[in-house]
C-alpha cells in the first residue's frame, strides 16, 4: 500500500533533481526549467499531505504556488528577452559584470 512517505520521498527526489539543475546550469533559461522542477516537487508533497491528513489547506497552498509560478514565468521571461536583446547571450558567466 502506498503511504504518505512514498509520495514525500518521490517529492524529495524530484526536488533534489531540481536542486542539481540549479547548481549546475549556467544558462538562464535552463535555470528557469530547474526552478519549475523544484516548484512541482513541492506541489506533490502538498497534495500528498492534504490527502493523507484529510485537510484542504495543502491544496490551497499548491494553488497559490501555481499562481506564483505563473507570474514568475511571465516576468522572468520578459527579463530574459530584455537581457538577450542587450547582451545576445543567456550564459551567466558572460552576463556576470561584477568581478568578485
Amino acid at each position: 500500500m502506498i503511504g504518505l512517505s512514498h509520495y514525500l520521498i518521490v517529492s524529495a527526489l524530484i526536488f533534489s533533481i531540481g536542486l542539481v539543475g540549479v547548481l549546475r546550469r549556467r544558462n538562464l533559461l535552463m535555470l528557469f526549467f530547474a526552478t519549475e522542477v523544484m516548484l512541482n516537487a513541492v506541489n506533490i508533497a502538498f497534495a500528498a499531505i492534504s490527502h493523507y491528513y484529510n485537510d484542504l489547506t495543502g491544496q490551497m497552498f499548491a494553488f497559490f504556488i501555481i499562481a506564483i509560478a505563473a507570474s514568475e514565468v511571465a516576468v522572468g521571461l520578459g527579463l530574459l528577452i530584455v537581457l538577450y536583446k542587450k547582451y545576445g547571450t543567456l550564459d551567466l558567466d558572460d552576463l556576470a559584470s561584477m568581478k568578485g
Binding site: 533559461l29 506533490i44 536583446k85
Partner: protein, 187 residues
C-alpha cells in the same frame, strides 16, 4: 493494487523526464521533457483525489506556462546546443545527492501524527472542486484576490518588458537571416 502500479509508473517516468530536463544540453529536449513531466505530475494529483488541483496543473502549468516558454523560445536560438562550463561537476552531484539523502531520511522518519488536526477537513460525498471552492472563497478569499492582482501586475510587466523594440531583429549580426537566405539560394 491499481494505485500502486500507477504510483510507481508515474514516479519512475517523472524522475526520468526531469533528469532529462536537468541534464540535456538541448533547450527543446529540456522543454518537452519538462512539459511531459508536468502532465505526469497531474496524474499524481488525480491519484491523490485532488481533482481540481490536477486540472489546474494541466491548464496552468502545461497549458499556460509551457506555452509561454515555447513562445519565448522563438526569441532565442533553440536549435543550437547549449555549451555550459561546469567548473566542478563532482561537487554539484555530491551536494545534490547529499540533500536528496537528507530529505529522504527526514521524510522516511515516522511522523508523530496524533497532534495534527485538519484545519479545513474534506467532506464525504462532496466533490473535490466544490470543497476547494468553498474553502478558497471563504477562508482564502483575500490571498486569492491578492494572487489575482499579482497575476495582473505580472502580465503588465511581461508585456512591457517583452514588447519593447519588437520590430527590431534580435540577432544583431543577422547571421540567422543570412543562413536562411543561403538555404533559399541553394534551393
Amino acid at each position: 493494487m491499481f494505485e500502486m502500479v500507477a504510483f510507481y509508473l508515474f514516479s519512475v517516468l517523472t524522475i526520468g523526464l526531469f533528469l532529462v530536463t536537468v541534464m540535456s544540453s538541448n533547450v527543446l529536449y529540456a522543454m518537452t521533457s519538462l512539459a511531459a513531466g508536468m502532465v505526469l505530475i497531474s496524474g499524481f494529483f488525480f491519484i491523490l483525489g485532488a481533482d481540481f488541483l490536477g486540472v489546474v496543473q494541466l491548464v496552468a502549468y502545461v497549458g499556460a506556462i509551457m506555452a509561454l516558454y515555447s513562445f519565448a523560445m522563438m526569441f532565442f536560438d533553440a536549435t543550437r546546443d547549449i555549451k555550459e562550463k561546469n567548473t566542478n561537476p563532482a561537487l554539484v552531484f555530491l551536494l545534490g545527492g547529499l540533500s536528496a539523502v537528507v530529505l529522504v531520511l527526514m521524510f522516511a522518519a515516522p511522523i508523530h501524527s496524533d497532534a495534527i488536526q485538519a484545519l479545513y477537513p474534506m467532506h464525504e460525498g462532496v466533490g473535490n472542486a466544490q470543497d476547494v471552492g468553498i474553502v478558497l472563497f471563504t477562508k482564502y478569499l483575500v490571498p486569492f484576490e491578492v494572487a489575482a492582482l499579482m497575476l495582473l501586475v505580472a502580465m503588465i510587466a511581461g508585456i512591457i518588458l517583452a514588447g519593447k523594440k519588437m520590430d527590431q531583429s534580435l540577432t544583431e549580426d543577422l547571421s540567422a537571416d543570412d543562413e536562411i537566405l543561403i538555404q533559399k539560394d541553394e534551393k
